[in-house]
């Protein structure tokens, strides 16, 4: 059965159409990568999936139920920047979801429940390779570490849909490959449905089980803003489901020293050198 259905989504800001007639059906567990020129509405589409913005027309449903009109715990998000809380340490950031859930008024847990929340946070910290940075604040982390923290924090709520808005756009190539490997691993493990907006075509082809291209199909040279964009290409991909080295990679603590002895990375590097 189709997991997520978007029907005739249209968005305009005032008189300016951004998206028009976007139709989409996505199976559960897909990793959908989204590319397109700047300003083509791909981030807008993601924000609509998130509930941060509302479509001017059309409906989006998950398992037949229209999505909530505001962000909720069913849909996780990682932005390019500012996705973690600067006033909390790595551990504090990872304990926050449990504290939100367990204490409606104070937003803080004590005693046994606090220990349980800390253990869950520590398990995630281990998984995203930040256990050595436990008491550091986000400003003391590198860009890659901040994004790892952001992804780990989002996954603590076990969302069925994870939305990524150019999550690795600000990272250097080596760190980016690390992060991609970590994402694939977490995606395989959780079975969640991922939507990922990216500027990097190679990344989109490499990671996705499906690639969407947003573009304008009609163009008025006299008035470029006359028409909105829609999905112009919808390409099924092999994805990373059956990758031969599934689970073989290990995320090392420091991105700078990971390239040696990492089968995933060496493969990605050798691909790049091919014509």
């Amino acid at each position: 059965m189709t997991f997520l259905t978007a029907q005739r989504i249209g968005v305009s800001y005032g008189d300016v159409p951004i998206l028009e007639r976007v139709d989409l059906r996505v199976e559960e567990g897909a990793l959908v990568t989204i590319v397109g020129a700047s300003g083509c509405g791909k981030s807008t589409f993601l924000r609509i999936l998130l509930g941060q913005e509302r479509a001017t027309s059309g409906t989006i449903a998950i398992n037949g139920v229209p999505i909530a009109a505001e962000p909720d715990a069913g849909r996780g998000i990682v932005f390019q920047r500012y996705s973690v809380f600067p006033h909390l340490t790595v551990l504090g950031n990872l304990m926050l979801p449990a504290e939100f859930e367990g204490s409606r008024v104070l937003g803080r847990l004590f005693g046994r429940r606090r220990r349980a929340a800390r253990e869950a946070a520590e398990a995630m910290m281990d998984k995203i390779g930040l256990d050595h940075a436990r008491d550091r604040y986000p400003a003391q982390l590198s860009g890659g570490m901040q994004q790892r923290l952001a992804i780990g924090q989002a996954l603590l709520k076990r969302p069925r849909v994870l939305l990524l808005d150019e999550p690795f756009g600000a990272l250097d190539p080596g760190t980016r490959r690390d992060m991609q490997a970590m994402l694939i691993d977490l995606w395989r493990e959780t079975g969640m449905t991922v939507f990922m907006v990216t500027h990097d075509i190679q990344e989109a082809f490499h990671l996705g089980t499906r690639l969407l291209v947003f573009d304008k199909i009609r163009h008025d040279p006299q008035f470029p803003a006359a028409y909105g964009a829609t999905i112009t290409y919808d390409i099924p991909l092999r994805g990373q489901h059956m990758s031969p080295d599934a689970g073989a990679f290990r995320l090392d603590a420091e991105p700078a020293v990971t390239n040696a002895g990492n089968p995933f990375l060496s493969r990605a590097t050798s691909e790049e050198t091919q014509p």
Binding site: Q52, A73, I77, F79, S83, V84, H87, L88, A139
Partner: protein, 273 residues
């Protein structure tokens, strides 16, 4: 090496920083000596020792009429008014700044009002305060509070709005309610901004405090300055001005240090004054 790339050493920096102060002091001493040589009874530029003498009288010799040590009772009275006024303004700033910053409905409700209110020249309210609240402490504290609150409210509201939208959305996806977002995401990030707002608010606060004391008071630093003005007592006025400046400077440094100590995370990136 280019001038823009030359950095003074630590000792050099301290010496350079002290230079303008020493220059001013030296210029005053010379000017004072010239005037006193012409007329030993000149009151306009009293000598440094005369000022020291006067301050010793104010600080360590009980007043003949009240028995108080005037410098300290003045200082205490003024700081008390300042602290209460600022505390009221800060409380208003937290409540209304948060409501305006966090809730779109709150912003629609209060933002235009605060913007309009902040444009009232506070001194024009002083007569109203004296009429309504009488000539006691309430009116002077009220002026400090009213004079600084709108500025601090707007500063804090802007502080909330400056929190990246991404953080708020992220908190929503982590299952937080509006209340939880306010208490766990917004307020913790607001405290260092409150300290900054207080530091900004103290500048006008001192102006309003001294003005109110000048008009109706029986003690206080502003009261004293305007009282002894009648006798051209520059030997008291000048040290009082220096003393007020020193107090303001120390309070500012204290708040800055407090922010760095209590909210270390807020001072990790970027450089602040």
């Amino acid at each position: 090496m280019r001038l823009i790339n030359r950095y003074p050493s630590r000792a050099m920096r301290a010496a350079l920083g002290a230079l303008p102060f020493a220059g001013l002091l030296g210029a005053y001493a010379v000017a004072s000596a010239i005037r006193l040589a012409e007329n030993p009874r000149d009151k306009l530029l009293p000598s440094l020792s005369a000022m020291g003498q006067a301050m010793y009288q104010m600080g360590f010799v009980p007043d003949r009429r009240t028995g108080d040590l005037l410098l300290w009772s003045d200082t205490f009275a003024s700081l008390e008014r300042l602290a209460i006024g600022i505390a009221i303004a800060a409380s208003l700033a937290i409540v209304f700044g948060a409501i305006i910053g966090i809730l779109p409905i709150g912003r629609a409700l209060f933002s235009p009002f605060v913007a309009a209110f902040s444009l009232i020249p506070p001194i024009t309210i002083l007569p109203i305060l004296f009429i309504v609240l009488g000539l006691g402490e309430a009116a002077k504290i009220g002026l400090v509070a009213i004079g600084t609150a709108p500025l601090m409210i707007r500063s804090l509201a802007q502080g909330v709005l400056d929190i990246p939208r991404e953080e708020i959305v992220k908190a929503e996806t982590l299952g937080a309610s509006t209340w939880q977002i306010a208490t766990r995401v917004v307020f913790p990030q607001l405290w260092p901004k409150l300290i900054t707002a207080i530091r900004l608010g103290l500048v006008p606060a001192w102006i309003f405090l001294i003005s109110a004391e000048a008009i109706a008071a029986t003690e206080g630093l502003g009261y004293r300055i305007f009282l002894v003005r009648r006798y051209l007592a520059m030997d008291v006025i000048l040290p009082y001005v220096v003393w007020i400046t020193l107090l303001a400077y120390l309070i500012d440094r204290l708040l800055a240090g407090m922010s760095r100590r209590l909210f270390a995370w807020a001072h990790l990136s970027g450089e602040a004054l």
